[in-house]
């Protein structure tokens, strides 16, 4: 079995090399049959990799404990779901998942465009297959998932395996890696189209139109993956953090930042024919940062709590990145004439300028995160000492950046293209700004003195009100014309221009997330030693330990506290934080209890017992507003999905159209 699996991967690798050569040679030598044959190779690779993945999954579920990967990541007692998910529990398997996903995407791309873009498709195929070939090279020759355990020349059957890390046996962790990978891998497609269009000097923005949905969908997956990771950390790790600026977290954030910048700056190219070079740079940076993220997680180059063991993969990734980046830089420089901008910036107060600054600070944030993540590597190379920077550094730089972005989120969509005046801005933004200031003043009067928190809530209100006004104005216009009620009119409005109003919803989701992040400024925590019958106080909550129970399952021993909670004298029932000790891995884990509410979460962790055993140690936290992060995610998700729905009637954007209330005003002035 394992031989067939390894053979499939090897064959897939050969097919990938064949697909690159036949597509490119077929294109240059004008032999369409070679191009077609290259496309068929893409389909065959998918079949081969599906078989390989199937074999690995079968071995994991059946418990073939001769295979190193199965022994390392599965065992006899785990449930079938977790056996299946151990497919991506380790390095070899997750690289196989990467390859399989990329091959699936490639099939979809080749099939969708089998009759279109005959000029650039061979190069698109070649770029996708080069990336796939690189990953297949790794899993065929460097870290094969089908390695068997050997002693001398004999194969060993280990009998049982180590199982998946109990911390990872949690539903969000089951889908977190595939989601992130769907996002990481998906960005290969816009990149491939960008390169294809660059090589063949396609006129117009065909590649942007083709890949708009790809970009949105992959962005959605990246967002989902990141938020799932955050949600997992919050619910499982026992200290209530959702983001720690850990290198691996940063690795997933970096391509997300550039992808977000790209999503915004392509609008400049679509509507004004500007920033063409910049968009090439962004789409390439995103792609390379995706590869870099995989490299960072897989090579152990930076120490991390997620640290996977040191592995021999580092040099392969560095080589691939170096060659790839050099190639793209050469290509862009060589095609600069073709990427000339069609119009110029006219004013600092314009939509163009807001996009520009949006990109500037997103990229600044990306650079700061990258710099901070690689700081140990840089200092080791320069001064010979490893020096790291922690969360305070990242927060210091990124909180002001976040606030600046929030400001632009409010201003950008409403400001006119080309040129706007202070007068029109005043009209558009007076109400939202007053609302924001009122909120901030109210909070200040209520005793909030945290500067960033006040600023953040001011800006959140500002943006939320601008979005609400946009929906209300558009909805009312339709309602008066058609006699529908306001809600139906707003839905109609959204349907007429899904991209614009879906985008507003995404912005609204981001506002909710920022509200959630702001809650961090008001966290409370305390550690108690609680004996049965005793109670303790945190914030308005009173916690009394009523009972301690314990027991055992085949996998772990457990102890549970029964704590009755009351708030300002009102009884809120009991909660049961639990502590487990997994017997196979000799590892304790906490099952925290979280009472989630919109205003604040009460988060209790059973941390252990005092040494003499007379009392239990309970860590209690109050996290205000944290639920808004998860609510914000759902809003972002629905907004993105709306953006993907086609408009009711196809809208045609003339290049110099003036959009928004500020824009209408500017038109009158002209």
């Amino acid at each position: 079995m394992e031989n067939i699996g390894a053979l499939c991967i090897l064959l897939a690798f050969c097919f990938a090399v064949y697909a690159i050569l036949s597509s490119v040679i077929g294109k240059i030598a004008k032999r369409p049959f070679l191009v077609t044959s290259g496309e068929r190779a893409v389909y065959s690779i998918w079949v081969l990799l599906t078989v390989a993945a199937g074999i690995l999954i079968y071995a994991l579920i059946q418990g073939d404990f001769r295979m190193a990967y199965v022994v390392g990541h599965s065992n006899r007692t785990m449930s079938t779901v977790y056996k299946f998910t151990s497919w991506w529990g380790g390095q070899e398997g997750s690289l196989l998942l990467w390859s399989w996903l990329l091959s699936t995407y490639s099939c979809v791309v080749v099939f969708q465009n089998r009759k279109k873009f005959r000029e650039m498709m061979p190069y698109v195929t070649a770029v996708l297959m080069t990336t796939l070939g690189f990953f297949l090279l790794l899993i065929s020759f460097v870290v094969s998932p089908f390695q068997v355990l050997m002693a001398g020349k004999g194969i060993i059957d280990a009998g049982d395996g180590q199982g998946l890390n109990p911390l990872l046996q949690y539903w969000t962790m089951v889908i977190h890696p595939p989601m992130l990978y769907l996002g990481y891998v998906g960005f290969s497609v816009p990149f491939a189209f960008a390169i294809g269009s660059l090589i063949t000097k396609q006129p117009g923005e065909a590649w942007i139109h083709v890949t708009r949905r790809w970009t949105l969908v992959t962005w959605m997956f990246q967002t989902t993956g990141i938020l799932l990771g955050a949600g997992w950390a919050y619910a499982v790790l026992g200290w209530g953090g959702y983001w720690g600026w850990d290198p691996v977290e940063n690795a997933s954030l970096l391509p997300w930042i550039t992808a977000t910048a790209f999503l915004h700056s392509v609008m400049m190219q679509e509507k004004k024919g500007m920033m063409k070079v910049w968009n090439m740079v962004l789409v390439s940076s995103t792609f390379f940062l995706c590869i870099f993220g995989t490299f960072l997680t897989r090579s152990g180059v930076v120490q991390s709590v997620h640290a996977f063991a040191q592995s021999p993969l580092g040099k392969y990734f560095v080589t691939f990145l170096a060659i790839g980046i050099a190639g793209v830089v050469y290509l862009i420089l060589n095609r600069l004439d073709f990427l000339k901008s069609e119009s110029q910036l006219e004013s600092v107060l314009s939509r163009e300028s807001s996009f520009l600054f949006n990109n500037l600070i997103l990229l600044a944030s990306c650079f700061a995160v990258l710099w901070g993540t690689l700081f140990p590597v840089i200092t080791e190379a320069v001064i010979g000492e490893k020096v790291s920077v922690d969360a305070p550094f990242f927060n210091r730089v990124n909180i002001p950046i976040g606030l600046g972005l929030m400001l632009l989120t409010g201003v950008g969509p409403l400001i006119a293209w080309r040129k706007s005046s202070f007068e029109s801005l005043k009209k558009a933004f007076a109400a939202p700004l007053i609302a924001g200031v009122l909120v901030a003043v109210g909070l200040f009067a209520a005793g909030v003195r945290h500067f960033y928190a006040l600023m953040s809530l001011l800006l959140c209100t500002f943006v939320a009100v601008t979005i609400a006004i946009e929906f209300y104005k558009g909805g009312r216009a339709i309602a008066t014309k058609s006699g529908q009620n306001l809600i139906a009119a707003m839905i109609e409005l959204t349907h007429r221009n899904t991209r614009r109003y879906g985008g507003y919803l995404v912005h609204m989701g981001i506002v909710f997330m920022f509200i959630g992040f702001t809650g961090k400024a008001f966290d409370k925590d305390a550690t108690f030693e609680l004996a049965p019958g005793k109670s303790a106080q945190i914030g308005n909550y009173k916690l009394s330990l009523t009972d301690f129970i314990s027991g055992q399952t085949p996998d772990y021993r457990w102890g549970k506290l029964e704590i009755s909670v009351s708030k300002n004298g009102e009884n809120l029932g009991t909660v049961q934080p639990e502590r487990r000790f997994y017997t196979v891995s000799q590892q304790p884990t906490s099952e925290v209890s979280i009472r989630r509410r919109l205003n604040e979460d009460l988060y209790l962790n059973f941390a252990g017992s005092t040494d003499d055993g007379s009392a239990t140690v309970v860590q209690a936290y109050v996290f205000p507003l944290v639920s808004w992060i998860w609510i914000g995610y759902w809003v972002v998700l629905s907004g993105t999905l709306i953006c993907l729905v086609p408009n009711k009637q196809k809208l045609i954007y003339p290049r110099t159209e003036v959009v928004g209330i500020a824009g209408k005003h500017a038109q009158v002035e002209n």
């Binding site: 190193a68 390392g72 390695q147 063991a309 000492e385 990242f394 002001p400 550690t527 884990t589 962790n605």
Partner: protein, 142 residues
């Protein structure tokens, strides 16, 4: 025309300047030197001036919780030992236990005890599991 680009230039420089200043200030405030236990003991008194991140293995049976809620333990790396006291308020990670690899962030005090405010730990066998085979030296995994 030039005036317009001047405006853009000035705004850009102002934004990047502020961010750059924040970044440099942030680095100064949170930089931590990676050292092994051995390197710390070689540094002598100069080790006391810097924030350090010290990596090593937790010596078995050295973990003691005192009645003030502080946790005392010993880290060892290539034969050199260092006493550590954990004074932070976040709970210790579940992976922190006898024999695990730990990273302690904090400062060395003149009495030679390392005061850690943050501990990261990884269980030697986890995340990237080593197969539990009788003779690991001969198995063929890379």
């Amino acid at each position: 025309m030039n005036k317009k680009y001047m405006k853009f230039g000035l705004l850009t420089v102002a934004i990047l300047g502020v961010l750059g200043w924040l970044a440099i200030d942030g680095i100064g405030g949170s930089k931590t030197y990676y050292k092994t236990v051995k390197e710390v003991s070689d540094m002598g008194a100069s080790a006391q001036e810097k924030r350090l991140r010290v990596g090593g293995d937790v010596v078995s049976n050295s973990i003691i919780r005192d009645n003030k809620g502080e946790v005392h333990f010993t880290l060892v790396w290539e034969g050199t030992k260092m006493n550590v006291v954990y004074t932070g308020n976040e709970p210790l990670p579940d992976t922190f236990k006898d024999g695990s690899q730990a990273l302690a962030d904090g400062k060395l005090y003149p009495d030679g005890v390392f005061h850690a405010t943050k501990i990261q730990a990884k269980c030697a066998s986890k995340y990237e599991a080593k197969p539990a085979v009788a003779n690991p030296a001969t198995h063929a995994s890379s």
